[in-house]
Amino acid sequence: MKHLLSTADLSRADAVHVLDTAAEMAATQSREIKKLPTLRGRTVVNLFFEDSTRTRISFETAAKRLSADVINFSAKGSSVSKGESLKDTALTLQAMGADAVVCRHQASGAPHLLAHAGWLDAAVVNAGDGTHQHPTQALLDAFTLRRHLVGGAQGPTAGSGSDLAGLHVAVVGDVLHSRVARSNVSLLTTLGARVTLVAPPTLVPVGVEAWPCDVSYDFDGTLADGKPDAVMMLRVQRERMSGGGGFFPSPLEYSRAYGLDARRLATLPDHAIVMHPGPMNRGLEISADAADSPRAVIVEQVANGVAVRMAVLYLLLEGNR
């Protein structure tokens, strides 16, 4: 596989292989010398047309830990603000000899275009496109789930070789605008987990009945009946809510019905973990009690993101094809 554009392209074996590679990468990150020589001489371009903190820093850290040269490109302060097209930007990167392009774009499908239009020889990694996919986020979520809930051991290599068979994951919140939810539904079900999407009807996308998951409008009911092993809270993406909203009556009402607070936290099974892809709206989809509780693995998700992205860059860039 040359590019990583969507988790729907990954077979179960591919996905487990990425997670196992990430586990070995994570094990190297507890050493005194964290840098590995593996991608020496390779160039990774972070091509970010949309704001991002953790994803860009995570990819940059991952590439640097593997000794690749990293070039950061953000649309602000570049010729894109003068009207340069995606094609001309891609041709520029090609001329500069990029080996991998990590692309985030507000338009769904932009990384796919970069990968397949013939402008670039580089491997393309989708770092989030519109409301479509964010595959490395889903992979790091799967890695975090496996590490905590599979195999019964602790440490970075817990659960190596296993999938997520038998786990139940509730994905709660703004599914409509969430590429994280879409990526997770396909990846987690490929890995054998059961996914329940929980959202108000206004934030459930049209066509969701074709997705391989259950849909519920009732958070409390899902917690009581489904006994999820993990609850993944999604950010309410107000910047994507055109016309200023209308998706729910008020933040308070949203929070009452779909927020994870101390009361709902207490109803979770003892082993269950709380996840959030960040950035969090504290007080809206997740309360401070839940975000800071010992079962929240939100900060660990960020650390795991580096290992997963190291694995993806290694698998895409090394080996002859």
Partner: protein, 200 residues
């Protein structure tokens, strides 16, 4: 992202020893005797096992290192800690092979600073794996000395590297393929030479 584990060493698929075009050069008993001798040589060279740490190179160096550790423990009851050292991310030939799966690095709790590290591998050939292992070691710490034990030395070195302990020197042609099979990974103990198809 294919995950084939091919390389200079042997693919993991089970493969009958007497099948194909391989001739057996070492059997179970010879392998065991060679390891016993290497264990004694390690003790002799290092005047005991006080600071010795055995690190096997995946995949087949790891069970060999464990077997050596068992023998060391019978010679010197204190024994020596054993671990594994994956060198994949330090190789210089990553781009000329299909993507390699990354193995496990597991350094014993004693660490390697100031220790005598004995690297254990199945076949010593070009020396490039050992070159990568030396780089990997230097990122993990600073051993007092590094020694190398190989079950088979088949010659054709491409780097100035030699083994301190060798189970068997096996003169081979470049085109031949040396295949080591171990009970732990392949269900039987055997070293085979196959007249190769020019692959290495």
């Amino acid at each position: 992202m294919s995950h084939t584990d091919q390389g200079t060493r042997v693919p993991p698929e089970p493969h009958p020893a007497n099948g194909a075009n391989g001739s057996v050069v070492l059997g179970h008993a010879e392998i065991q005797r060679a390891l016993t001798r290497i264990a004694h040589e390690i003790v002799e060279r290092n005047k005991g096992v006080a600071d010795v740490v055995l690190l096997g190179i995946p995949s087949r160096g790891v069970p060999l290192a464990r077997r050596l550790a068992e023998r060391l423990a019978t010679i010197e009851p204190a024994g020596a800690p054993v671990g594994s050292l994956d060198v994949t991310m330090y190789r210089d030939d990553l781009r000329s092979h299909p993507t390699r799966a990354i193995g496990r690095t597991d350094v014993p709790g004693t660490g390697i600073d100031g220790k005598v590290v004995v690297l254990v591998d199945d076949v010593l050939y070009s020396g490039r794996t050992i070159r990568a292992a030396l780089d990997a070691l230097s990122d993990l710490g600073r051993p007092r000395a590094v020694q190398l034990a190989a079950l088979v030395d088949r010659g054709h070195r491409e780097l100035p590297i030699r083994a301190d302990f060798v189970g068997k020197n096996l003169p081979t042609a470049h085109t031949e393929r040396v295949r080591v099979r171990l009970t732990e990974t392949d269900g039987e103990d055997a070293v085979l030479i196959e007249s190769g198809e020019g692959t290495r």
